[in-house]
Symmetry: none
Subunit: 210 residues, 4 copies
């Protein structure tokens, strides 16, 4: 009757929910977004019923995983934005992409999952917040003269997304690949007097408009 048991219950439920989310994230990334719900439940150490109590169907689970992922990305983007210069912030953000890999790749996988995530309001909000932070970083870096002037935030977002792909190797070799691709991309992004990109800058509005 007091608030205490209720709170403890909530703590339990919360823990359950977190375990399910963690298990789902892992399995989505290892095996794709079609893994049997029952396996997710088993990996989370709960019964299917519990999984369905928290997430009414697979879509809801995918949305929840996506929101959780994007929330983490937002946190890291904000931390990166604390760097003294815009360029440093950009480098840090891109460097972290490696850690965000697991986090965001889901959205890139199956066409169905893409649609679900793209249409999810919660994820949209996180995405917009992330793009706002990125926008700041980009402008700062351009004002400093370190980032080439003929790119816009959309271009940089695409560069970030390139780094989220699955690389064709495991462990340290995969790390090395990311590191080197990142270095190549930074070379390309650095302001250079003689270089000009084709077409027009990609803006945030160009993204996700399918």
């Amino acid at each position: 009757m007091t608030a205490d048991p209720e709170t403890r219950l909530r703590a339990d439920a919360r823990r359950n929910r977190d375990q399910i989310l963690a298990a789902a994230k892992q399995m989505f990334f290892d095996d794709g977004p079609d893994v049997p719900m029952e396996e997710i439940a088993r990996a989370a150490g709960v019964g299917v019923g519990t999984l369905y109590r928290r997430f009414p169907d697979r879509e809801a689970l995918i949305r929840a995983v996506a929101q959780d992922n994007f929330a983490r990305v937002l946190t890291e983007a904000r931390a990166a934005a604390e760097e003294p210069t815009g360029w440093q912030a950009l480098v840090r953000l891109l460097g972290q992409s490696r850690e965000l890999q697991l986090s965001v790749r889901l959205a890139l996988v199956s066409p169905q999952a893409s649609v679900i995530i793209r249409e999810d309001r919660g994820t949209q909000e996180f995405r917009n917040a992330i793009l706002d932070v990125l926008d700041d970083i980009v402008h700062r870096a351009q004002d400093e003269g370190s980032l080439r002037a003929d790119v816009s935030t959309g271009d940089v977002a695409i560069v970030v997304s390139l780094l989220l792909r699955r690389f064709p190797a495991k462990g340290e070799t995969a790390e090395l690949m990311i590191e080197r691709v990142l270095a190549l991309l930074l070379e390309g992004l650095r302001a250079r007097p003689d270089s000009v990109l084709p077409g027009r800058p990609i803006t945030v509005e160009d993204l996700y408009l399918r």
Copy 2:
């Protein structure tokens, strides 16, 4: 009973097979590698029975699509290698990647498809042949002094693969995105006296070794 009807039959069978492959490729890319076999058959204008006569199961179909894709890539790579300079060959090859998108993305999608393709002997042979061609181009471009010396064929292969991703837009905007990312990557790949990449070059042996 003469050779004639048999030949005509073969022609028919060939046409059937091609239709199925084309339909499967399209549907794999539009809807992922889990599209019902029956839908593929319908799109190909044949019954499921016919589909199964040509391809004993889904894996076989995936393998066939992959081989067909890689064969096309090989053809285009060889054509690109005809360019007068190594750098031009490289630019052309990377530029064509956009057209290879549809062709190869399958391997990047579902973890299951990845495994099937990676373990398929036929695809492996095509892949090796492609990498041989790429290897030639890379060396020529480096000998010319246009491609930075601290990359190896594996690095370039990864750059190619980056361009095969699904970009977050449709139609012309997606084309524009690819064009600009390609330009950024070429900037990064260009030989520069003052620039050095971290780690060691990625070799062909580093690829796909998971």
Copy 3:
């Protein structure tokens, strides 16, 4: 620990039980006897746990609803029997059937529910008591010469049950339907010199013997 809280508890428990019964009755009639137990609990304003404390399983709940229903029918039948003449008692009893509709229809719906109810001892006793009252009324009306002599109590019971059906309309129209069907049946039941029914009278023993 004193008797007082225990008594209050009983009052509470009683109220709980009544709420559950009322909710269950309503939902059984609106949605059939398969409504989720959880929805019944919600409608009753209690948790499922409480519902299960009172009624160990769905069958027990169905039995309880049936007994409650039949008890009401018995009460009304006894009240009808107070009428001055047997025919008036019969008319009143049949007229009340309309109000008994909700009460008894459950037994007519799903085959499963029928079996549960038919085999329930408590319900059987109520049913027998009701049939005893009806038997009295029938004999009185026949002794008066108003009810045809070639029917027996079983025939009349069946006529009652006919009026418990769900009529294909809502609200006043449904009332009207019942009223007119009732009038037709009373015409048929009225003693008439020239009319004779086929077969033999249906006795109480003929009922429910499946």
Copy 4:
């Protein structure tokens, strides 16, 4: 390639379909409209897959059974209408109701099934055709002076529906019950100079309007 094999195939499929319909009808009436689809399939001697190929889901199966039922009723109603007098036609139609029992009871059972059937276009058309036939019979019998003048087609339809209920007995006893109730109702319906029903006639428009 000729029409022959196709026809034979259709014959097979048709036979399968008929078996499924027959099995479903039987089981719906024995066990209610919630019997597991798998049991229906087993009773029909086919796999679930076949059942689902013919009837995409349970609703479709219920609709098909209902249409089949109503079609039979229509046939019998038309046959009854051939009787020389309207009253004889009416008696025959009501007498056949006993055989229609199995046929139509489905619509009276679960609220869900009722809704599905009521909203099914095909069933609606059969129902309307049946009511047209009934309307003719009613008018003929009234013109003859044998059917009471203060009923309308809706009243008679309701009387028919009363006879479709499940009677509380099996076998011959149930037959006897129907026979006697039918006789009582015919007594009530017979034109009588001194008798008048309450309210106004129930028209076809009053039916099913919930």
